[in-house]
Structures are given as structure tokens and as C-alpha cells.
């Protein structure tokens, strides 16, 4: 039941400041690293720029500004030659460190022949790139944690998807706190929900049951879904690892889900989903791969539902929240740390904040305990004063 509060008849204005002009400091995933190991340079539009991603002869994957500092040629249209990327315009050779190593037709490389290079990390089959508008190297304490199942034989390979979304990437981060939208958009019914923001990590813990009204009942002999346990954390501004377990009446299915993005520019981003599933006695061989594919298409369906909303909605800096909503403002306060210089990160952006919703104990039980407490206090009072309370 909703009580409508009367009183203020002013129209609530939606407010939105200009979009940020810088891109978040942090590790961003560019997708499966395999994709970049085909001997060809790749074009990646990210952080408002065009980048070239190439694997040098030494096996390292490098990321440079795509435009050659000589005459502006597009290096991502060039050729990999040994450890360098060669410009298609005049064959200038650029190393992964951003320095020009050689100009085949010139005796010496001019001074200042240096372009922007991004620090990369190839881990668990994924390529990460460090973005920092201040140009500092990545501090070790904000690195992306290892995903154990990604390199183990008893887990499936990644099922990976990439989608371009035409809105600012704050919209996807907002989902971390949006409890209510799980019910309306994703047909899931959380019985326990918790957000924790601390340091550079934002976590969402959720236990839920599937909504009976939106899924067909299990047929005879098929495992029946009882619920799910999810612990998902953004490690920095853009890479979320979700340890997700589905509980069936006959088995548990363990999976790791990745929800990641990198900004193309202020009004578009690339949204990635990835999933691996653990193989078990009850879910072995192709059945596990099939499960991973199924879950991937289920996630994509969820993304599509989100995208439909994002495509049409307004950016809003002053959402009007009711008590049943999650901590949107506190999440954005956390998210802001990635958009200011390190020296300007304020304690409130990184100090621990918890938001918990636990519906497993019915309200009646709470109320009963309060009444008992009051009765006990009254009894104690009357015993100590010798008068009935």
C-alpha cells in the first residue's frame, strides 16, 4: 500500500549537470585477450579517443593512441612488424612503450617521438587497460582480482558478448543499487539484498527466488530452481565480478559472471558480459557449455531490457527516492572518486557504507519482540518502584 503524502504542490524538476569531460580512472576490460592475438592490429574507440591494440613479437599486448605523431596516420590500419606497430602512411615503427623505434627511410628518429601508451594486463583470458587522466601507473591495491575458475579445467571457457550502448556509462553502474528494478525488469525476487561501498570496491549481495508468475513450472524430472545466491563487486569503476550460484532441488550450479564496460565517449560505452560455469558430476561435458550459453543469453535478455530503458530515459542527478529504493546517492558518491584527481578523493567517497534489506524475518516477529521488551521494562519498573506501571 502506498501512502500519498500531501502538502508540496511544486513540480519536481529533473536536474542533470553537464556530462563529465574526463573518463574514469581505473582498469577497464577490452574483452577476451585471444581476440587481440591474431597478428593484426585492432581499432578500439575508448576514452574519447581512437586506440590501437596490438600484440608485439614478445607476446605482450600493447595499447597506443592510434594516430601516428608523424602525419596522423591511423596505426590501427597498419601492420605489426616484430615488436612494433608500423604506420600504414610512412612505415614509422612504434613500440608498446609509446616511443618511435625506427623510421626506415631516416637515419635518426626525431626528439619528442613519443605517443600515449596505456598500461595493459592480460589476466584470466581477459585484456585490461589502465586509464588515468593524471597519467600515473596503476597502484597494486586496485588491481583486478584473479578469477579462479577462468583458468581451471573443471570450468567452461568464457561465453563473452559485447554490445554498444548509446548513453553515458553511469546508467549501468546505477544498477548496483537498484533493488526494485530486479523485480520489474529482471523478474527476480530478492529476499536479501546488501550493498557495501568501501575503498574502490562496490558490492551487491543478493539472495533471491525466481518469480513464480514469470517462469513456467518445472516439468516432471527436470530440476526445479529454488533460488540463487549472488555476490557481485565492482573492482573500480567498470569491472564487476559476480559469484553466482543457482540452487536447484537436485544440485547447485556455480558460475562467475562478468559485467564490464568501457566508455567510447561521454555518450556511449561498450557493455560486456562474460560467463563461466563449473562442471560437476551432474553438469558435465557439453551440458555445462550449454548451461553457460543459456545463462549468457538470459543475461543478454536482461541487458536488452536495461538498454530499452536507458535509450529513452533522462539523465537525472536528483532522483526522487522512496524508502524502498537502494542507496543511489551513496553509490554515486563512491563512483565520483574515479572522476577526480587522486589528491581530491575525499574520505566520504571511500569510507565504508552498508545498505541491507533482509526480509527473511517477518515484521510480526520484530513487533512481537518490541512488545515483549516493553512489557519486560514495565514489569521491571513496577518491581523496582513497587507500583504498577
Amino acid at each position: 500500500m502506498t501512502a500519498v503524502e500531501a502538502g508540496n504542490d511544486d513540480i519536481r524538476r529533473i536536474e542533470a549537470e553537464a556530462l563529465p569531460t574526463r573518463f574514469a580512472r581505473g582498469w577497464h576490460c577490452l574483452g577476451l585477450s585471444e581476440k587481440f592475438k591474431d597478428g593484426e592490429p585492432h581499432t578500439v574507440n575508448a576514452f574519447g579517443q581512437k586506440l590501437v591494440v596490438f600484440q608485439s613479437g614478445d607476446g605482450r599486448i600493447n595499447v597506443l593512441d592510434a594516430y601516428c605523431r608523424h602525419m596522423g596516420g591511423d596505426l590501427s590500419q597498419g601492420t605489426i612488424k616484430g615488436d612494433e606497430i608500423a604506420c600504414p602512411f610512412h612505415d614509422w615503427r612504434w613500440g608498446g612503450d609509446g616511443r618511435c623505434k625506427k623510421i626506415p627511410y631516416s637515419r635518426r628518429v626525431p626528439l619528442r617521438a613519443r605517443t600515449a601508451a596505456w598500461t595493459t594486463m592480460d589476466q584470466d583470458g581477459l585484456l585490461f587497460v589502465w586509464n588515468d587522466p593524471e597519467g600515473n601507473p596503476p597502484p597494486p591495491e586496485v588491481t583486478i582480482p584473479r578469477i579462479e575458475g577462468a583458468t581451471r579445467d573443471d570450468w567452461t571457457d568464457w561465453v563473452w558478448t559485447e554490445t554498444i550502448v548509446n548513453t553515458n556509462c553511469r546508467e549501468v553502474v546505477d544498477n548496483v543499487v537498484d533493488m526494485a528494478h530486479f523485480f520489474y525488469v529482471h523478474y527476480s525476487f530478492p529476499t536479501y539484498f546488501k550493498n557495501i561501498f568501501e575503498g574502490h570496491v562496490a558490492t551487491q549481495i543478493m539472495k533471491g527466488t525466481g518469480r513464480q508468475d514469470t517462469r513456467p513450472p518445472a516439468k516432471d524430472g527436470e530440476p526445479r530452481l529454488l533460488g540463487n545466491d549472488s555476490a557481485a563487486s565492482y573492482h573500480g569503476p567498470s569491472f564487476m565480478i559476480d559469484d553466482l550460484t543457482y540452487h536447484y532441488d537436485t544440485m547447485d550450479i556455480n558460475s562467475v559472471l562478468i559485467n564490464a564496460h568501457y566508455p567510447i565517449d561521454a555518450t556511449s560505452f561498450v557493455l560486456h558480459s562474460g560467463i563461466i560455469v563449473q562442471r560437476t558430476d551432474k553438469l558435465s561435458g557439453p551440458a555445462a557449455d550449454e548451461m553457460a550459453r543459456k545463462m549468457s543469453s538470459f543475461i543478454l535478455k536482461g541487458f536488452d531490457q536495461d538498454v530499452q530503458i536507458w535509450k529513452n530515459k533522462a539523465r537525472i542527478d536528483n532522483p526522487l527516492l522512496c524508502e524502498e529504493d537502494g542507496p543511489v546517492y551513496q553509490l554515486r558518491r563512491w563512483y565520483e572518486q574515479f572522476y577526480v584527481d587522486v589528491a581530491d578523493v575525499r574520505p566520504e567517497m571511500v569510507e565504508r557504507f552498508e545498505f541491507e534489506l533482509d526480509t527473511t524475518r517477518p515484521v510480526e516477529a520484530w513487533k512481537k519482540e518490541v512488545e515483549e521488551n516493553l512489557a519486560r521494562k514495565a514489569a521491571e519498573l513496577s518491581a523496582s518502584t513497587g507500583r504498577p506501571a
Partner: protein, 84 residues
């Protein structure tokens, strides 16, 4: 970007609470019997026994602090709005 205040805190702000076990001082708010918000600061994180002895990874929360909050709510020290 300006960091804006949560509109819900205007009507019912966070309230100070001291953990009954270790004395860590945090701010707490309950929107209902089911919902709890906790704002920690550096002092509280340094004082909390469970926080200090927790291993690496995500610290899900302090059980003693949780008990303290429940007790404070049951004792009427932390306000819990009536549900309609």
C-alpha cells in the same frame, strides 16, 4: 560532478550508534524493520574487532555491530518508522 544529499535523509537523518562490543562509533538509519543503513568512518573501521581481524576480500559486515543495531532498534534508541 556535485555530490548531492539523499532526499530521504532530509526527513530522517542517520543517527549515531556505538557498538556494544567494541565501542566503534557509526551512523545508522533504519527505513523499516527489514532495512538498515550503516555509515562507517576510518575510526570505526580501525576500532571494530571483526573488521580488523577480517581476511582479505569483501568484508560482509560485523555481526556484533548488527546485534547492537537490532538491540538499539528494539529498545527504541534507533527509530524505526511504522509501516502502514
Amino acid at each position: 560532478m556535485t555530490i548531492r544529499p539523499d532526499n530521504r535523509l532530509l526527513d530522517a537523518p542517520m543517527q549515531p550508534l556505538t557498538c556494544r562490543r567494541c565501542g566503534a562509533g557509526v551512523e545508522v538509519r533504519k527505513a523499516s524493520w527489514h532495512q538498515t543503513s550503516v555509515q562507517w568512518n576510518a575510526d570505526a573501521a580501525g576500532t571494530c574487532l571483526e573488521r580488523r581481524t577480517a581476511g582479505p576480500g569483501i568484508f560482509p559486515g560485523c555481526a556484533a555491530l548488527r546485534d547492537s543495531i537490532v538491540q538499539a532498534a528494539l529498545d527504541g534508541e534507533i527509530a524505526v518508522p511504522e509501516e502502514s
